[in-house]
């Protein structure tokens, strides 16, 4: 496991899946799950968790996704130190503005609840033991090879 982190090599028993969360705004999670077989029994471990909006990976790090999910969960109780989002009030409604490199999107209150619930559902049956010590150190090249291996760089639909 140490060799993986030094060489940034991703092993074969890890699958990368794109989990759609809010389809109308193209918000989705990218989850890396490791499968280990011990005596005719499979164990699942989480190795990294990213957030993708449209055609942009906003976070490439597990710590960053936790920060973004916390900002989404707190919603209108956040302040100006928010890193990814801004609170905007328009005709009595409160919305969360998420900045992208090209443009921005708005997240409503019910959608923020849905994102947080979906995060809980996506971790069912997966252990979080290895996420702190053995998280993938992802570079741009390793993400590109990883996405190409799972055929996620092809156009869909």
């Amino acid at each position: 496991m140490l060799d993986e982190q030094i060489n940034c090599v991703i092993p074969d028993n890890v699958d990368l899946i794109e989990i759609p969360v809010i389809r109308s705004k193209k918000i989705s999670f990218v989850r890396a799950k490791e499968r280990v077989k011990v005596k005719d029994k499979y164990y699942n471990y989480l190795r990294s968790m990213l957030i993708m909006v449209g055609e942009e990976l906003i976070t490439t790090n597990f710590a960053d996704t936790v920060v973004l999910l916390a900002e989404i969960q707190k919603f209108d109780r956040g302040n100006k130190q928010n890193k990814y989002t801004e609170i905007e009030r328009h005709k009595g409604d409160v919305n969360l503005k998420l900045n992208l490199t090209l443009g921005y999107i708005y997240i409503s209150a019910s959608e923020s609840l849905a994102i947080f619930n979906m995060h809980k559902y996506s971790l069912q049956g997966i252990s979080l033991v290895r996420i702190i010590d053995d998280e993938f150190v992802l570079t741009a090249e390793s993400i590109a090879t990883y996405l190409n291996k799972n055929k996620m760089l092809n156009k869909q639909g």
């Binding site: 993708m52 055609e55 942009e56 990976l57 906003i58 976070t59 490439t60 790090n61 960053d64 490199t101 992802l138 570079t139 741009a140 090249e141 993400i143 590109a144 090879t145 996405l147 190409n148 760089l153 092809n154 156009k155 869909q156």
Partner: protein, 282 residues
């Protein structure tokens, strides 16, 4: 008395039943044998005896003697695909006539040294934000990419095989169409603006760019042929475009990261040293 008749009657019935049973079993065995024999005979009819085929006279090229030719050394091509293309298109076909030989090898040398690429029409572009240890965020674009060397290898061999089927083309006419196909693929490279900067060529529109590149690479061609290569018709052979689109959908995809800074884009090197022909044994 009645008991004796009763017992004897029952025993007679049992004996008759046993005898009938024995005859029945033997009859079934005979039937099975008949079916088996019929099946074996049917299988025998399926097998065919070996045919007697006679030899035919066929023309076969056999080069027994060593020949000394004026060729470019293969180390100047630097990538194995360009070496294979030079072997297939120039040496095996024995096209050593002068304007074609040096002009075609010059464009192969240029592509072999530089790792040019084409954007894959099927891929999508994903932007990533990656954080350093110094808390700086690098923005990079991920996409699938095709190698230009592989594409030009596929297009040229396909054009050559397509021209070989049509018997009414001359040797020199085929060479002109292959040169046109090589220039058509080179223009489609994604880094063509940086190629133009380093070769000191003006980049205006596609036809003007093609005219300038032809002047740079194919120096010894006559002006009439240069004009025909630069036109959109390509000697009235529009199948080059359809072959190019066909090759794009069947070539290998490679993952590539594309940063927005200009320093990473400018990887194009100059034309390699003008390598001279050498006498070689083949």
């Amino acid at each position: 008395m009645s008991i004796i008749f009763y017992i004897s009657g029952i025993s007679l019935i049992i004996i008759i039943a046993l005898i009938w049973r024995v005859f029945h079993i033997t009859a079934i065995k005979n039937m099975k044998k008949k079916f088996l024999d019929e099946e074996i005979e049917a299988n025998r009819k399926m097998i065919i005896e070996p045919l007697e085929v006679k030899k035919k006279e066929v023309f076969y090229k056999l080069n027994v003697y060593m020949v000394r030719l004026n060729l470019y050394s293969k180390s100047s091509f630097s990538s194995y695909e360009m070496k294979n293309l030079y072997q297939n298109m120039v040496i095996d076909t024995y096209w050593l006539n002068e304007p074609f030989h040096s002009d075609f090898s010059r464009i192969l040398q240029f592509i072999g040294v530089n790792n040019l690429w084409i954007k894959d029409p099927k891929s999508r572009e994903i932007i990533t934000n990656i954080r350093d240890r110094n808390n700086k965020i690098n923005k990079q674009i991920l996409m699938n990419v095709l190698d230009l060397g592989e594409v030009i290898n596929g297009v040229v061999t396909e054009v050559y095989s397509n021209l070989n089927k049509r018997l009414f083309y001359n040797k020199y006419e085929m060479q002109d169409r292959i040169l046109a196909a090589a220039i058509y693929v080179l223009i489609k490279a994604e880094e063509i603006e940086f190629v133009c900067k380093i070769l000191k060529i003006e980049y205006t529109n596609e036809e003007g760019l093609r005219h300038n590149l032809v002047g740079r690479f194919y120096e010894n061609l006559s002006t009439e042929k240069k004009d025909e290569i630069t036109q959109n018709g390509f000697f009235n052979s529009s199948f080059i475009i359809s072959i190019y689109e066909e090759v794009l959908f069947n070539s290998n995809q490679y993952p590539y990261t594309f940063s927005t800074t200009e320093a990473s884009k400018c990887t194009v090197t100059l034309l390699p040293y003008r390598s001279e022909k050498q006498l070689m044994n083949i």
